[in-house]
Symmetry: C2
Subunit: 351 residues, 2 copies
DNA sequence: TTTAGCACTCGAAGGTGTTAACTGCTAAAC
DNA sequence: GTTTAGCAGTTAACACCTTCGAGTGCTAAA
C-alpha cells in the first residue's frame, strides 16, 4: 500500500519522534536519515502520509507526529531488531541468575530488571488463579487458635495464609482437615475451594461452622487476593518530556495506582507471547495516551504470570520488544537447564 | 517569652498558612481571626516576630511565612485539640474493626486509614527485628527439596519463608532441625539465628553444609528483609499546592521510594509515643522541606511497629496528632478487649 | 500605644513584537 | 513526470514591557 519511499520516510519520522518527543520536520529527517531527497520532496510525501492517516500535525506550521495508525504500521511492518548492548545483556544475566526461592521473587526481579533497562514503568501479575491446580495443601497448627494453611500449585507457586479461631482447635482436627482437603482437592483448580466444598465439609466433618467457615473464607481470600501484583519504576515517568505537565503526571500516577485497571490490562487471555496495545487500541479510555506491551511468562505451557510495560505511545518499541524477548528466553533457559522451578514431584506425606 | 498578643498573632498566621499555603498578610488575619487590632499594629508585631526568628518573608513586600522555629513553637505551645468529626470517627472505627488475621494486615489497614483521613503520605514498618524474641520455629517439608520455615515471635508476628535445596531432604532431618532450632532458640532474640548458631548446627548435626547453609541464609534474609514496609497515599502529594512544581513532586516521589531513608526516618528508638520532626530537625538533608510525625504502635509494652506521616512543613499538625492519638487508643482497645493479638500461649508440639 | 495614611516593593498577569522553525505552493530544472 | 529551489504564510516560543494589586515599613497624628 505504501511505496518504499513512504515507508522509509514514515520510519524515519517515527524513529526521530521516539527519540526527540518533538514534532518532526521535513528538513531534519532529510539531513539525518540519509534520504537522498530534498526537504521539499519529503514534505510532499509527508502531506500524503498525513491524508492517509499515518501522521498528525499539532498545528499548521509544525512538524509531523505519528498517529496511532502510524505507530501500528511501524510496529507491524517497520520494526527492526534492536541489538542489546553487551552491558545490557550482562546486566540482565546478572539479575536473572540470582538464586531465588520462589516465583514471586523471580517476578519481582524480572519486573525490576525490565524497568531498569527500558526506563519505563513495569507491572506484573502472578498466574491467573483459575488456571492453576492444587498440588497439595498443608495445615500447620500455630498455637491453639491459629492455623497456617499452605497451598502448593502446579505452577510451583506456594501460597500461605494464617487463620485465627475464636475457639481452640487441636492437632487431630487439623489432621482430619488435611486429609479432607487433600483427598478432595488434589489436582483440582484453585477455585474448587468454594461454597459447595465448604458445604461438603460441613456434612462430612463433625466440626462446627466456627472452624470451617474461617478456613474457607481465608483461603478464598488468599486465592483471589491481588497481592501478587508488582509495580516498578513509577518514578521513571518524570524523566519523560511528555510528563512535564504536572496534570499528566498526576493522571498517570493515579492510573497505575488503580489495581483493577492494571490487572485488567495484564489480563491478555490466551493471546500470543508479546502483545502490543497502542493508544486507542486499549480498552480503557484512560489509557488512550499510552502504549502497553505485555508478555506472558510460562514454564512449559503453564502460565506463571504476565509482565507488562506501560509508557508513552512514542515508546521505544524495538528496544522494549528485544529486551522482553531476551528476558523471556533467559527465563526459559534458566528453568529448563537448572530446574530451578520444577514442580515438587510426588511430595511425601508425613506419616 | 512571647507575650499573649504575639502568641495569638503567631497562631493565627500559622493556622492561616496551613490552610492557604500562601504568605499571610497583616490585613487578612486582622479580619478573619477576630483580633481587635488594626493591620498596622499586627504589622508591627509581625516585624518583631520576624526578628525573633518565628517568621520568614519570601520577599520585601510579601506576607509572612512560618519558620521552622515558628512551627516548633506552634507545635509545642499553641496546638489545640482538633476534635474529629463524627464521620471521621465512624470511618476509623469501621476500618479498624475489620477482622484481621495478622499484624501485617492490621498495619496495612491502619496505614491506609491514616492516609485517607489526613490526606498525607503514610509510611510504616513492622517491629524492629532486634526487639523481638522467638516464640517458636516450625519447619514444613514441601516436596523433597523444598522446606518452609515459620517463625513465631513474641510480638505475635508470623514470618515464613521458603527454602530450596539442591539435594533431597527427608522428614527425619526436618524433625531434627525443628528440635535443634526450638531447643536452642526459643525465647532468644531473632538475631540469635546467626553465624555462631550456624556453626553450632554444623558441629552438632551430621547434615552437610548443603542443608544448613541455605536454611540459615534464607532465615537471616527473612528477618532482615524490609518487606514489612508499608506506603500509602503517595499520590496524595499531587493535590498539595507546594507540589505544583514538577521538580519538587519528583524529588518527593524519589525520596519516599528510597526505603533506607524511610526506614531510618521511622527508626525513632525508644522515644515517646508521638514524635514530630520539623524541617531541619530531620537528620536527613533531603527531608528538610518536610515534616514527619510518627507514632509507635505497641501491644502491652511490646513494640509492634512505627507508623509515620510525611508531608509539607505546613502540615495540619493538630489534625494529624488527633487522628494518631485516636487510632492509637483504638488499636489498644481492640487488642485488650477482644484479645485479637494475644500471643499464642503454650503452643503444642505435634507428637 | 495604636492607627490612618502613604510611599515603596515586588510578583503575577497580560499584551506586544520579534524570531525561528516549520509548512504549502509555485514555477523552474532535471 | 518527478524533483527541487525559493518564497510567502503560519505558529509557538520568547523576551520585553506595562499594569495591577497586594503587601510592607514608616511617619505622624490620635
Amino acid at each position: 500500500m505504501l511505496n518504499e519511499r513512504k515507508k522509509r520516510i514514515l520510519q524515519a519520522i517515527i524513529d526521530e519522534y521516539i527519540n526527540s518527543a518533538e514534532p518532526v520536520s521535513s528538513g531534519s529527517i532529510a539531513k539525518k536519515y540519509g534520504l537522498n531527497f530534498s526537504s521539499a520532496t519529503i514534505r510532499n510525501e509527508m502531506a500524503e502520509l498525513e491524508t492517509a492517516g499515518y501522521l498528525d500535525k499539532p498545528h499548521t506550521s509544525s512538524g509531523r507526529v505519528p498517529s496511532d495508525k502510524g505507530y501500528r504500521f511501524y510496529v507491524n511492518e517497520l520494526l527492526k531488531d534492536d541489538n542489546l548492548s553487551l552491558e545490557e545483556i550482562k546486566y540482565i544475566q546478572s539479575k536473572l541468575e540470582m538464586k531465588v526461592n520462589n516465583i514471586e521473587e523471580l517476578t519481582k526481579i524480572t519486573t525490576n530488571t525490565l524497568s531498569e533497562i527500558t526506563h519505563y514503568t513495569t507491572v506484573a501479575v502472578g498466574p491467573n488463579p483459575n488456571v492453576q491446580t492444587i498440588e497439595e495443601i498443608k495445615f500447620i497448627l500455630l498455637g491453639t487458635r491459629m492455623l497456617m494453611a499452605v497451598i502448593l500449585t502446579d505452577s510451583g507457586l506456594v501460597k500461605e495464609t494464617i487463620i485465627k479461631f475464636d475457639d481452640d482447635i487441636n492437632q487431630e482436627q487439623v489432621d482430619t482437615l488435611s486429609y479432607m482437603f487433600n483427598n478432595k482437592l488434589k489436582g483440582k483448580p484453585l477455585e474448587a475451594i468454594d461454597q459447595p466444598f465448604e458445604e461438603y465439609l460441613f456434612r462430612e466433618m463433625k466440626y462446627s461452622v466456627k472452624v470451617i467457615r474461617p478456613i474457607i473464607e481465608q483461603m478464598k481470600k488468599l486465592i483471589n487476593d491481588e497481592k501478587d501484583f508488582y509495580l516498578e519504576g513509577t518514578n521513571k515517568v518524570f524523566d519523560l518530556p511528555e510528563f512535564k505537565s504536572l496534570e499528566l503526571a498526576k493522571k498517570f500516577i493515579n492510573l497505575i495506582d488503580e489495581k483493577d485497571i492494571m490487572l485488567d490490562l495484564l489480563d491478555t487471555g490466551f493471546a500470543q507471547d508479546i502483545n502490543i496495545y497502542i493508544g486507542d487500541e486499549n480498552d480503557n479510555d484512560q489509557l488512550k495516551d499510552f502504549s502497553i506491551v505485555t508478555f506472558k511468562h510460562r514454564i512449559g505451557n503453564k502460565d506463571v504470570g504476565t509482565i507488562g510495560i506501560i509508557g508513552p505511545k512514542r515508546m521505544n518499541y524495538s528496544k522494549v520488544i528485544s529486551v522482553m524477548k531476551y528476558i523471556n528466553r533467559k527465563l526459559n533457559d534458566n528453568q529448563t537447564n537448572e530446574e530451578n522451578f520444577e514442580q515438587p514431584e510426588e511430595p511425601k506425606e508425613e506419616s
